[in-house]
Structure formats: C-alpha cells, structure tokens
Symmetry: C2
Subunit: 233 residues, 2 copies
DNA sequence: CGAGAAATTGAAAAGATTCAACTCTCGTGG
DNA sequence: CCACGAGAGTTGAATCTTTTCAATTTCTCG
C-alpha cells in the first residue's frame, strides 16, 4: 500500500500544532481501515488493543447494561480521536463502538501510545484537552437528565446532532447519517414511542421533517425554544 | 509557617510514584487552607486561578443551571485532586465546589500546572488517570439516569457514598458528613419529597437509619438488591 | 426558648411508559 | 418484476411512577 499522505490529517484537531515530519512519523505506524455501516469497531470490555482517529463517517459509542439495555454515550464525528482507553489508564474499552455510517478509520496499536505521546507532546496535549471536553459534555448530560423533561432532552439531542453533523438541504438541516427513533431514544433516556410521538407533533408544526432513518431540522430556532423553555407552550 | 512535611501527601494517589524530594518541591509551592462547612472553594465560571488537593473533609461539586436548579456532579473525598480545569484546557471552573464538611486543602496556582506536570511526570500521569476514571463515572451516571428508576438511583447513590466515605458505627455504616434529603435529591435527579419517602420506607424495613442531616446504611446487602433489581419487590 | 432549616406525609396531577394493534417502506429472492 | 417479510414507525388506551402542591411536624443551634 502506498504511504499515507500527511495532508490527510494535517488539519484534524488531534494533530494540531504538529510538523509535517511528525505527521509522517505517525502515519507510518497507522493502519487504515474501512468499516461498513453496522460494523463493530471495538467491543465493551474487550482488550484495548488500538486507538483510533475517524477520517470519514460517524461512530456511535454505546454502553450496554447488565440487563441488556443500551445507552448511547456519544457520537464521534470526522476528525475525532476515540478508543483512547490507554491514555486514561485502562486496559479494556468501556463501551462498544459501532459504525453509524460507512467509515474510514486510522488505527494505532495501544502499545505505542506511551511512546507516541511523549515523542509528540502536541498529540498528548490535544488528546487530554479532548478528554476534558468530553468530561464536560458528560456532566452536561447528567445535568440535562436531572433537570429536563423528555421533550427538551430530545430537542437538545437533535440540535446537538445537527450542529455536529448537519448538512444543509433545501428543506433544512439534515442529520448526515441514518438515525432511527430507537437511536434517539437511546441518546436521551426515553422510549422510541415517546420519541416517535414528539417527532410527529413537531412535524405537524413544521419544526422537523422526518422519515425512515432520516431526520431534517426545518426550524432550528423554534426547536431551540423548546429545548430551553421550562414551560410547555 | 513551618514547611509542610512530605509525609503529609506521600501516600495520596495524585502523588504516587514520586520521590521525597519531588514531594518537597511540590509542597514548597503549595498553600494550605482551611474551609469551614458551607464555604465555597471555587465558583462556576470563575477564573481558574488554582488547582487543589483535599487533605481532609469532603467537597461537593455542583453545577447550577441557568434556571437556578442545582445538580451535584460529584463528591470529592480525602486525597483527591480537584479543580484541575487547566489540565483540561479550560480557563474557568465548570462547576462550584462547596465544603460539605470542614476541610483542609492544598492549593497551587494554575499558572504552575504546566511546569509542575512536566517536571514531575508522575503527577501528570496520575491526574490523567483520575480524569479518565471520572469520565467513566460520569458515563456510568448517564447510564443510570437513563435506565433506572428513582428508587434504584437513590440506592446506588447511598451505596457509593458509603463506599467512598463510610464510617463503621454500631448501627451500620454511616456517611461521614452531614447530608440532607435535598443533597441526595441533587445527586440523583429526584425531588427531596421522593427521597424522603424512600428513606422512610427503607427505615421501616430496617435497611437504613437516618435523621436530620444523617444517614446510616444498616443493611448494605439488601440495599444492593434494590439497587440492582429491575423489579419492584 | 424560639426561629428557621430539615423532614414528613397525604392528595391530586402530570409526564412518560407499557401494551397492543396496525401501517408503511424497502430490499431481496422466487 | 412483483410479492413477501422484516425492520421501522405510528398511535390509542391504560397504567404507573414521580412530581407538585400543601399542610404539618420535628429538630437543633444560637
């Protein structure tokens, strides 16, 4: 296989502030892989053999409870680093990562994390900054789950997805990968029934337009009002 | 003031793997402070001027929503590092820290984080490991909030407190600082009324024994059954 | 001892889930 | 190429957990 070109990753957040030679050094040790939608990138409690950067596609990170219920912990978008158990002092993955759309991924052996992150301090710094941000996000979600009703949580979740992965269309902003009512339910701690009812209601009010595995936010502003307001309107 | 002795902090997790001279170097730059119960150590959105290690007492970390509702993000126990916004690439504190009991705290200026963590790599490594653990904890809480009923969440919260800060007494294991129904409600995303009803019910079944600002877990095993079971008994 | 904080408890109301039945959509294999 | 079947979505009705509202009581600290 031809060597990967540094321009591939130069502009991605995990590699900010790194020289071209450093990028080349990193790429030399990376393995590129392709995962079709639905494929499992790594599995909860499995040995953390690699860490990853997502070049293209979307990844859903899911935790499964002992009772078998699934909760989506976060979505990974293009350019993000993930599966960094090693950097956090763990030897197994804390969740399962599933390709939500067809993906292109770079993978490095976990064993090289220590060496790579000391040799390229910017990589370490960028990663820890990312982890800090995710801790923030997780706390924000705990706060939302504690204080908001389902309607607001679903509105927040859609707005977040739209900001992260939105693609302009003529109708509004579309979430850029196939997403079901069930998926949204697993992000918000609701049932698919409630999510379905909410989307139906919003559709009839012209806030969203949705179908099988497809959600388009037509009026982000009014959706934001729902997300923020304590009152029922 | 006399110099602080390395033996004070030698055995605390943030300083694991450090030589006595390193500890002395760290202590030289630390400032010790005492905070009475109820005092604010740092405030949400305030400039992150310092980071801290708790030597004695308990700290409650709280996020306040724009609507004024409070959610307890975590409790800090003896020996933990906290207020490490700088290490995560932030310049302000993401939450408010309040002394839940009288506290003794070491504080370092945030400006020294970069220098200290490079000069003492173990400090950096230990800290990032801690952050990783907290990210895990936060995700665990999201999962709990998504899948469990209030009864189970409160049971889990009590068990967690008892493990973290429990003190053996003749009646059972007591939570080692004053804690109100309201505090428990803010940890679990419930109302103080529901928490009060649950504690009353558990008290009459002999699982806990509680009073004003006081909770003793009498029968951890049966409480664990409640925390784990999907069914109402 | 008095006052404010903390806790309790009943009754009504609300939000969301559960149960159940049905429809729609899309891809595949006969 | 069309029919079929599974996955995805919808929607009504009943149920249930938890909150909300409200009125009291209990504690403890100054």
């Amino acid at each position: 296989m031809a060597a990967l070109d540094p321009s591939l990753i130069r502009d991605l957040p995990p590699f900010a502030g790194m020289a071209t030679e450093e990028l080349a050094d990193l790429l030399q040790r990376a393995r590129a892989l392709r995962q079709p939608r639905g494929a499992t990138v790594f599995e909860q409690d499995g040995e953390a053999h690699s860490f990853f950067v997502l070049l293209d596609g979307h990844i859903r990170v899911v935790r499964t409870t002992p009772e078998g219920q699934q909760v989506t912990v976060r979505y990974i978008s293009e350019g993000e680093i993930f599966g960094i158990a090693a950097a956090l002092g763990r030897t197994t993955y804390p969740a399962t990562a599933i390709a939500a759309a067809d993906c292109v991924i770079l993978a490095w052996p976990t064993a090289q994390w220590a060496e790579l992150s000391t040799r390229h301090p910017a990589l370490g710094a960028n990663t820890y900054k990312t982890v800090g941000g995710r801790l923030q996000d997780a706390h924000t979600r705990v706060v939302e789950m504690s204080t908001e009703q389902v309607e607001q949580r679903v509105a927040h979740a859609l707005l977040r997805l739209v900001n992260q992965t939105g693609r302009r269309t003529e109708d509004g902003i579309e979430i850029d990968f196939p997403i079901t009512r069930q998926d949204i339910a697993e992000m918000t701690g609701a049932t698919l029934h409630t999510v379905s009812r909410l989307l139906s209601a919003w559709e009839s009010r012209g806030l969203v337009s949705s179908g099988r595995r497809r959600v388009v936010v037509v009026d982000p502003h009014r959706l934001m009002l729902i997300a923020e307001s304590r009152e029922r309107e």
